[in-house]
């Protein structure tokens, strides 16, 4: 309940601001041809990025987990790392190398390369957990490998792919950095423009509420896909499935996967290194870099812990109770995720100054902003983990006389532990890269790596900015590795 209230802060604020506009203006704003056009452009971008991310994410996960593709260990290790690259860094790398990429092409390319790990990670975990026996049965019944993949394997990973796809869709909807660098006009751009041009908070609020409506529509769609989740008792037979022999396709498949990883990971890092070497002459402010690393690690860690604490109850509720109440609470938490950071930040400025002036522009309020922004990331992880463990275990525990609290402590939480851990790592990673809310709400005088990066690129000092970008990537790699381990060991209840 409390969690849902926290998630409602920005919506409440938006309603207050939008109400100031009055019904006549609200209709006028919504009916503007440009508004309609931009909703269309946003949806086009979201559809393309989500579809491509699902294809790439599922494809890479299948190659890494179920086939004899050469170099699959390396692939499995490198595939999630693009999560560590902020989308604005990737966008800058691409546009400085290929100026003609600006527009829809560039936006789809960059966002897909940044986002596919959101699909890859849960699908990989699901594939490793799924009992390959089903596929073998299908093969023995005369299905071709392709039919088996389509009818059996895909069905098993559908809930994970849908959950990942939802995160991709919401992220794409709320992203501003990449689309503004790549000059593809979408919805977030109008919201920013409304603030920039006339400091007109009412118009921005009306448009943001429209964005919230879109989010709810998307997450309702996702829960339809998820309706038929499969849970089973135990983790099936813990064994390595017989890898699928790709035969003559081995090399092209490996090549394709290699290209994706090089473009998503190698290219932006190479670009940062290039700028780093050109900027070395400018000297390196080691003190500031160290302080930035410390502040980023500390604030993100607080954000991850707070988000996880909030996500556990919501995630369990969403997985175990199919009531309207649970659904509403879960979907409320998604609202914050699709709003541009600046909107969430201003909502907390409004609230912070009036309600908790002592916490305004101090760590607690910034952490609260992270919770509002990234709660869904953690909720999704917890939920799919709980959903995949059978409810029977809890029922048995109850029938043996355990109190509800004890069941939660001894059965549900241990079963959900891998998901909780993965969710925490994912939030940690996302907090590190966050910029707009951090700028407005950080304690005066504190700089994170993202804000220092912003300061340097603001005057075009890309060489001086590169060390902060590299440090951010290196720092973000740590939770990514933790994420991979969490999904590798995700074998349900054995411990």
């Amino acid at each position: 309940m409390v969690v849902a209230l926290i998630a409602l802060i920005p919506i409440g604020y938006l309603v207050v601001r939008a109400a100031e506009a009055g019904p006549g203006r609200i209709v006028a704003i919504l009916a503007r041809q440009r508004t309609v056009e931009l909703v269309g452009r946003s949806l086009l971008l979201v559809t393309l990025v989500t579809a491509l991310s699902v294809v790439i994410g599922v494809g890479l996960a299948f190659l890494a987990a179920r086939t004899d593709v050469p170099g699959r260990r390396v692939l499995a290790a490198l595939a999630p790392l693009p999560l560590a690259i902020p989308s604005y860094v990737a966008a800058f790398a691409w546009i400085s190398a290929l100026p003609q990429i600006a527009g829809l092409t560039g936006a789809v390319l960059v966002l897909t390369l940044c986002c596919y790990p959101y699909v890859y990670l849960p699908v990989l975990a699901a594939l490793r957990r799924a009992d390959p026996g089903l596929d073998e049965v299908a093969r023995s019944l005369g299905r071709t490998p392709w039919q088996t993949f389509r009818e059996v394997t895909l069905r098993q990973v559908r809930p994970s792919a849908a959950a990942g796809g939802l995160l991709v869709a919401l992220y794409t909807l709320s992203d501003f950095g990449a689309v503004s660098i790549l000059r593809y006009d979408v919805f977030t751009r109008v919201i920013y423009t409304a603030y920039r041009s006339s400091f007109d908070r009412s118009t921005a609020a009306v448009l943001s509420l429209l964005l919230v409506a879109l989010t709810v529509a998307i997450s309702v769609g996702e829960s339809r896909v998820r309706r038929r989740d499969v849970a089973r008792i135990g983790a099936g037979v813990a064994r390595q499935p017989e890898p699928l022999r790709l035969g003559p396709l081995r090399l092209p498949m490996a090549g394709g996967a290699g290209v994706v990883v090089v473009l998503a990971l190698g290219f932006p890092i190479a670009s940062l290194l290039y700028w780093f070497t050109t900027g070395l002459s400018a000297g390196l402010d080691a003190g500031r870099l160290g302080a930035g690393i410390a502040a980023t690690a500390w604030l993100s860690l607080l954000g991850a812990v707070a988000c996880t604490l909030g996500a556990v109850p919501v995630g369990i509720l969403a997985a175990r109770h199919r009531g309207r109440f649970a659904t509403v609470i879960e979907q409320v938490t998604y609202a914050g995720h699709a709003l541009p950071g600046i909107v969430v930040a201003l909502a907390l400025v409004f609230l912070g100054v009036r309600v908790v002036p002592w916490a305004y522009q101090e760590a607690p309020l910034l952490v609260l902003a992270y919770v509002v922004l990234f709660l869904p990331t953690a909720v999704g992880s917890v939920r799919s983990s709980v959903a995949q463990s059978s409810v029977r275990g809890e029922e048995v525990a109850r029938s043996l006389g355990a109190a509800p609290g004890e069941v939660l402590r001894r059965v549900t939480l241990p079963l959900a532990a891998p998901g909780i851990s993965a969710g925490a790592a994912l939030v940690l990673l996302t907090c590190m890269k966050e910029l707009p809310a951090t700028l407005l709400l950080r304690p005066t005088g504190t700089d994170t790596l993202a804000t220092s990066l912003w300061t340097q690129t603001g005057v075009g000092a890309y060489g001086a900015a590169a060390p902060y970008g590299l440090a951010l990537v290196v720092l973000a790699v740590l939770p990514t590795i933790w994420l991979m381990r969490a999904s590798a060991h995700d074998r349900g209840s054995e411990s």
Partner: protein
Amino acid sequence: MIARRTLTLSAAALLALSMAACGQDSGDGAQEPLSDDALVIYSGRNETLVGPLLDKLETATGVDVQVRYGGSSEMAAQLLEEGEGTKADLFFSQDAGALGALAKAGRLQALPDATTSKVQEGFADPAGLWVATSARARVIAYDPAQAPEATSMTTVDAVLDPKYKGKVGFAPTNASFQSFVTALRVSKGEAGAKAWLEAFKANEPKAYDNNILVLDAVDSGQVALGLVNHYYWYERVAEKGADAVNAKIHFLDANDPGALINVAGAGVLAGSQQSEAATKAVDFLLSDEAQQYFADETAEYPVVAGITSTKHDLVPLADLEGLAIDLNALNSLEETLAMLDEVGLT
């Protein structure tokens, strides 16, 4: 086992959060806690550019100074949202538009005449709510190999010539470019400005993310002409030496919108507990020392008479003054952006 770990983790988390709530910060060189007698400055100007100058404010004002850096527009929205609960005493802005919006919302207090009278005519808000601290001119950057004739251009209309098709660079999202379009609307009227923008678009100009990249493109010959602010070129020449910079810049006629003068400025927040110190800070930004800093370090125009740059060969501001635009009028940005949208130049 895991349950116990979870419990430990939660306990640790709660402890950490409550510690954070006590206003502990991230242990990065231990900030002094914000005391009520500190002067809080919101700076929309970049730390790299003005940090060294603002560091001197403690000496100039005699109080503790805390500076927050951010984007001018975002900070203006933040100040409006904070309303009377703001901790900020002074807003140092990258452009006049953000100051104009705060003035319009009644969030700024009038500066004393002694302060506003320091700047040259036309560089303070008529009601004295804010004052310009430095100025920048719009110029045409050109590649001498491709467009040597740029030296004789008098008006920005020259970039509409079909011979520059696909050869003009600009930064559509840059606030200074948008101010130029506002100036275009003021001088040519709405219909005239729209016709100009349509002709400009038909000439297939190349859009870049910022002024720096436009100048890069001119320098490397990717484009023949670029619409930029003057100081980018001066900074580059100071950094690389005049011989290493291929691009040149040309100042258009003073009364042409393409020669618009934009300003950065400062205003004191209404209800500030520190209005005396904040006013002293504004006076410092208008002092000879600070004006010399703008002229030398950021290659901007001083707004106080009698200061000339010792580093850059700046055309005197007096020669550029012409286009009479009330700088507050530049906050009609919304109409400008709507027009750019309509024409498809975003």
